[in-house]
Symmetry: C2
Subunit: 180 residues, 2 copies
DNA sequence: CCGCTCCACTTGCAAAAAGCAAGTGATCTC
DNA sequence: GAGATCACTTGCTTTTTGCAAGTGGAGCGG
């Protein structure tokens, strides 16, 4: 996509995109979550060219999302998800939920996931505050801290949202007389 | 990326990827969640070429993730998120959580989000069953139904995971004698 | 032990997308 | 009406994809 230093950005989303930021990778990980482990199975299931699959799988191994297991006899090896890779399934679940809500007509066939034990749907994913309030995009603020530090030491990041929330007019159209 | 019919896939993840499946789009949406609405602000914040930004924004408008508001005077218009667009913030939150957990050293500066009301971190996002159990990738099954139907009518989709869970050997390794 | 198949790649090449810089036209300010 | 800003376009180069065909090693059957 682009070679920018997303991998050094302080934004975790940028860093994530640096490792998994293309559609093929999402599809590979989705299949992996369902138990696909072999090169040819990914290839058949997703339908991408083998050279690209090779590149993606090797990158995912390089960043620790897959491990290669040579376990069984033969020349075939398996790509198995590490804990890091398995953790990504929350992201996939969120995407599935979004797609299900916004991208299907009522009469279209759709693949859902159910709890294997009970056969029921999982609870919807929502970002919630500690006190249980549901958090919308407007309800959150960006702050900066060190990764290991408690958030009490964090400093605000200046987003348009924050600017708008401050007293003194939001972005008073750069050529007007006086601002802030 | 590719022109495959992701937009018709029964998998909601495929369909989502069809609309938002590239890194630029994720970055645009992240910024939009923080209140960025204008062309030049996206351009400055993300640093992508204007022709590509144009293409992305227009696509996002076309699929109903952004609406153009001509509200304020001047030639500048605003790209504001629709409800569909705002709903995407759960996905971004999941990615942020994943990136934060796996992609930062302890001493690196990181951007986090906090609850604007309390200043505290949101609850971690996890996929949970109706009964509150945390669901791992192994704990879920894929089923197929119509989008409007209750899941009781759903039929299983044959994933490797399901095959492995069935009695009767999983994929009996075409040449070896006997296993299990 | 020699073809045969399967598997995970490579290689080569054409086509598509991204990246960059410069330009356009509309609107608003002074 | 000169100058600035904004949201694009256009043209061109570089990079990445997509596809088809080929490679090399391991197992198997005869």
């Amino acid at each position: 996509m682009k070679r920018r230093e997303l991998g050094r950005s302080p934004c975790p989303i940028d860093r994530s995109l640096h490792e998994v930021g293309d559609a093929w990778t999402f599809q590979i990980l989705r299949d992996a979550m369902h138990g696909v482990t072999r090169f040819t199975d990914f290839s058949k299931s997703i339908g991408l060219a083998t050279n690209i699959l090779t590149a993606r799988l090797q990158k995912l191994v390089a960043v620790g999302i897959f491990e290669i297991h040579e376990s069984d006899l033969g020349n075939s090896h398996e790509y198995v998800l590490t804990e890091k890779g398995r953790d990504f399934h929350t992201v996939l679940a969120a995407m599935r939920q979004w797609g299900l809500k916004h991208l299907f007509d009522d009469d279209e066939p759709v693949h859902r996931v159910i709890d294997a034990r009970t056969g029921r749907q999982p609870r919807p994913l929502t970002l919630t505050a500690e006190d249980g309030r549901e958090l919308s995009p407007e309800d959150i603020l960006l702050v900066r801290s060190r990764a290991a530090d408690p958030i009490e030491t964090a400093l605000p990041v200046d987003t348009p949202r924050r600017r708008a929330a401050r007293p003194g007019r939001p972005r008073p159209r750069q050529h007007s007389a006086v601002q802030d």
